[in-house]
């Protein structure tokens, strides 16, 4: 990682930095004439896999907080059960921003089922007791 990382310029061939190990291989991923995905620059087989996935269907965990009523804290940390498509992150945030949980909750409780019709739930990352017992 001795290179200065900068925002890629428009028109550049997208370079994917492999995150599998600290080697940080710079991958060139492209479709060849046969329509096959080719990964160049990977130092290992896992890197090739990573390059393909990042090229075809990059996914990220949704990690944020959600408003919680009557909790010992005003916000509850939540995450998507599994990673969601990267380009859906901001849409997901919009949904999450307008949903409110109610204490008490247990870690793993489903807070938003079927986020953006993706078949993936948003779950509580921790248990949170109620501020005032009802």
């Amino acid at each position: 990682m001795e290179v200065e990382f900068k925002k890629p310029k428009q028109g550049d061939v997208p370079e994917i930095i492999c995150t599998i190990c600290p080697n940080s291989c710079k991958l060139q991923v492209f479709e060849d004439e046969q329509g096959e995905i080719q990964v160049e620059g990977a130092g290992c087989a896992r890197g090739v896999e990573y390059g393909k996935e990042e090229y075809l269907d990059p996914k990220r965990m949704l990690i944020t907080t959600i408003k919680i009523e009557n909790g010992v804290l005003p916000v509850l940390p939540v995450r998507s059960q599994v990673a969601i498509p990267k380009e859906k992150i901001f849409d997901a945030i919009k949904v999450v921003n307008h949903v409110s949980a109610k204490a008490p909750v247990q870690m793993g409780d489903v807070i938003i089922p079927n986020l953006l019709e993706l078949g993936i739930s948003v779950i509580a990352s921790r248990s949170m007791a109620a501020k005032n017992k009802e």
Partner: protein, 428 residues
Amino acid sequence: MSEIIDTDIAIIGGGPAGLAAALNASKRGARVAIIERDFELGGILQQCIHNGFGLTYFKEELTGPEYAQRFMDLLKETNVQIFLDSMVIDLSADKIITAMNPERGILKIHAKAVILAMGCRERTRGAINVPGMRPAGIYTAGTAQRLINMEGYMPGKRVVILGSGDIGLIMARRLVLEGAKVLVVAEVLPYCSGLVRNFVQCLQDYDIPLYLSHTITDIKGKERVKSVIISKVDENWMPIKGTEKVYECDTVLFSVGLIPENEISLKAGIKLDITNGPTVNEYLETTVPGIFACGNVLQVHDLVDWVTLEAERAGENAYAYSTNTSRGGKLLEPILTVPGENVGYIVPQRIDYLQDSKIVQFSFRPKSPDKNCIIEFVSNEKVFDKRKAKHIIPSEMLIYKIKLNPEEIGEKITINIKKNLKKSKEEA
């Protein structure tokens, strides 16, 4: 007037280190008490809501709160005494802890063994002497993290971050997801000090530029931050004239490292190392017998999994101490560990017992990044063990279990990180 509490093992701090140490000691049958200053257990993990925890220890990827919750849930099954909202104000060498809390007043906790698990604090703007004005809007990354993730407040709207450690990178993403604009992350080192995954997923995903070999050379604004000046630095970290860039912003986050927090340890007369953590022996015992240290109060870890494993050892060793378990004969003079070539520090700092051959865990950090290295363990001017390391970087702790044979070990053990010239040539 003060309440006296008698226990086998008292643990200062209920974060990941304290929790793991408590569980391990309690499992063995010790009476354990945890003293925690916050209103709940879990420590800093409660604000580290991102994922990436637990891959080593649980073999699955968890968020910080989930990682903590697992231990907290296990703790509920034990009879470990927990004092929340309680601040330790004194620790004596004879292992009496003075703590205070609103409910019970002053507590005197008499313990057979004490485990220090207070964690660390963030290095500040003041500590790295960044010049400029001192308006509102200057935060450490961790404070911003607490405000956003636990208190539900935004520290600002247009943000510049100094430091590319993992907390800085993760906060860049958090701020963006909460609607702020992150203009730039500047890093004084010539490389990104956080994990490459965090660089990709926290900066690259959101088009946030990272400027390496850059630092903040001025902060402007009277009431609130108005702008910062970022300059390129030379190899001695001195700003280069003419490279100044102005960023108009209302907030500056400093993510420039962590410092073990040992003010309490000093009260017991415990000796500290250059890390600002206590110097310990191979049992993680400080210079005061029966007081152990683990987790970030001992050395700043990059993975919480290693904190847990270290804390479990501390719990086990403290339990053994509290039951007077023999360690064999103590050496007249300890064997000192010496950071050699490209090694910043070593834990443990000394070996106190070496009757028969035994396995000792060494953890240490390189001073600068390198590739294709050989790590040499040297004593009596002989390399008695060596390991290969493909990549080393200061932000990744190196941990090795090394067998020590009394006949091979002299007064000192030196660890060197050397270039594997053969391997480097091959690659070239």
